[in-house]
Amino acid sequence: MKHLQKFTKAALISTMAIGMTACSSKNTAATETVDAQEKYGCNSINVYNAGEYIDLDMISAFEKQYNARVNYDTFDSNETMYTKLLGGSSYDVIVPSDYMIERMISEDMLQPLNKDQQTNEADYDPAVLKMRDAYDPDGKYSVPYFWGSVGLVYDKTKVSEDDVKKEGWNVLKDTKYKGNLYYYDSQRDGFMVAFKALGYSMNTENQDEIQAAYNWLREMNDTMEPAYVTDEVIDGMVNSTKGIAIMYSGDAAYVLNENENMAWYKPDQGTNVWTDSMVVPKNAGCPALANEFINFMASYDAQMANSKAVGYTSVRKDVEEEMTAKDGDFYGNDAYTVRENGSKDEVFHYNEKLTKALSDLWNKVKVQ
């Protein structure tokens, strides 16, 4: 008996030890270390991603596996990133949004990816790959990182679910909830909601439709006393400060996990579905290693860790399924799944003229 006990103890301890080292290295079990300098001739890359959009341990994991150094910078918006690039900064991997990628391709700022290195793409959700054709035909330049949509987050105890389901986006103009709503302070998303509420395309250039959307927004602004916010909305909804808000799906998933009174709804009128993808700019210093980094972030382990840490929907089918399964982190969390057959859901297209026009109008809406 004593021997058995000792043996069990030893077995337990050694299993734990193995388990701990396996966990702390967080490497995909099958891969071994590669020396980047030997294989690719360079061992340092500059990565530019959105803030709070990654599990930092993944970066250390990559560095260990490739014996390389990753300089990781963050931006707060696509536009800030673009402006910074104009100054000539050289990055190896950037993670912009779909419309920004469209713009960068049209302005010849990106280089095609080495598809031989992108082995993990095969495990991707086919829907996200199909969406890619809208901004990167044939997926030559990008590999998706996260995707999601935009929708309504509402407090079940303060806002009637029926109202939300019946009115969709128009619930933001329902005077019952005056003073109790957050409106996203971005010309793009702000107008998207208005366009969708009126049944138009969010990429429309039709002057009448634009005017109608402007009127919709003015009415909303004048009668509803909205609080215009960007990131403060997350903390605000977690603390139940207001009853209803427009939010990005990943942030919403986080809010729903933190505050059980909150629910998510994607209006039938349609919404914006978006993808953030990884690209390699033309002036990258070490493109081969950049491609490796992209493939690394597309792996099961990385997608799992990142999605867990941030709350945004993974682009891999296996991770999505695991997250929404019975013991997954986002079980029952509506915000995590991207609606796949919303016929009225659209991807943003880059349109400079439209951006400028809407920009002016948006400022007009708020200044009263």
């Binding site: 918006s77 536009e79 800030t80 673009y82 402006t83 104009l86 302070d185 971005s186 010309q187 909205p226 609080a227 215009y228 916010v229 403060e232 400060t241 400079e352 951006t355 400028k356 920009s359 002016d360 400022n363 007009k364 708020k366 200044v367």
Partner: protein, 244 residues
């Protein structure tokens, strides 16, 4: 180095955006656009008034503070200066979020919240400038004034105040100018209802990518500020005559 950025902005303000980063098609379009749409002057006016009131509050709160500081022992003065400066080293974002948290427990209008945040941010500048000029005032001048029969109030009004005015003017410069173009504090504490000229400029530069218009707005703002500063400087002229 200092002037060059300014020059580039002037260039942009007067040109139109072509396909390249900068073209030389000169035009006054940007300026016309600013004045033709009523929202732009409205926003500028709002920013100016907000900056104005912030500055006034800073003067009225800051002057007594600087005055009290100048009366302390030298060592205490040094400590006070550090104490007043320290809050500035905490990142503005963090400070403002902290106020947001504190004010959420107190029922104040968003207008008051914004002014609290703005004054908090700029007060140290005002205090330091006034303090610097106050502490330099020769004790003997005050004693002489008393000997000549003036009481405390008269001494203050006729001797101390005029001599400290240049400090007040520097303080105004350090507060009013940045206050006009600040937008983050009003945005965060004012619930986003505030659209100020700083928002607009940043927006046009980054979100819209219209550097030309952004520069034009910036120039217009700068000119207006220069005019108001010129008027304030006039105040600084007189004390020299008094001291002489």
């Amino acid at each position: 180095m200092i002037i060059v950025p300014m020059l580039m902005i002037v260039l942009y303000a007067f040109t139109v955006q072509g396909n390249d980063v900068l073209t030389f098609q000169f035009t006054l379009n940007n300026f016309i656009r600013f004045f033709s749409d009523s929202i732009f002057p409205t926003v500028l006016w709002r920013s100016l008034t907000m900056a104005f009131f912030t500055t006034i509050i800073c003067i009225f709160v800051g002057y007594p503070m600087a005055f009290a500081m100048a009366k302390l022992k030298p060592r205490s003065q040094a400590i006070m200066v550090l104490l007043v400066t320290l809050p500035m080293w905490i990142n503005m974002l963090v400070r403002t979020y902290a106020w947001k948290g504190i004010l959420s427990n107190v029922a104040v209008s968003s207008e008051i919240a914004v002014y609290v945040g703005m004054v908090y941010n700029f007060l140290p500048f005002m205090i330091l400038q006034i303090y610097t000029s106050l502490s330099k005032i020769d004790e003997n001048l005050l004693i002489a004034s008393h000997d000549l029969g003036a009481n405390d109030t008269q001494t203050f009004l006729r001797v101390t105040l005029p001599l400290s005015l240049s400090g007040v003017v520097s303080g105004i410069t350090l507060v009013f100018l940045p206050a006009v173009s600040s937008f983050f504090i009003p945005k965060l504490l004012g619930g986003g209802q505030y659209v100020l000229i700083g928002n607009l400029i940043e927006d046009y530069f980054i979100s819209t990518g219209d550097w030309n218009f952004g520069s034009a707005i910036s120039l217009i703002m700068a000119i207006i500020i220069l005019i108001s500063m010129y008027v304030t400087k006039k105040l600084d002229k007189e004390p020299r005559e008094v001291a002489d």
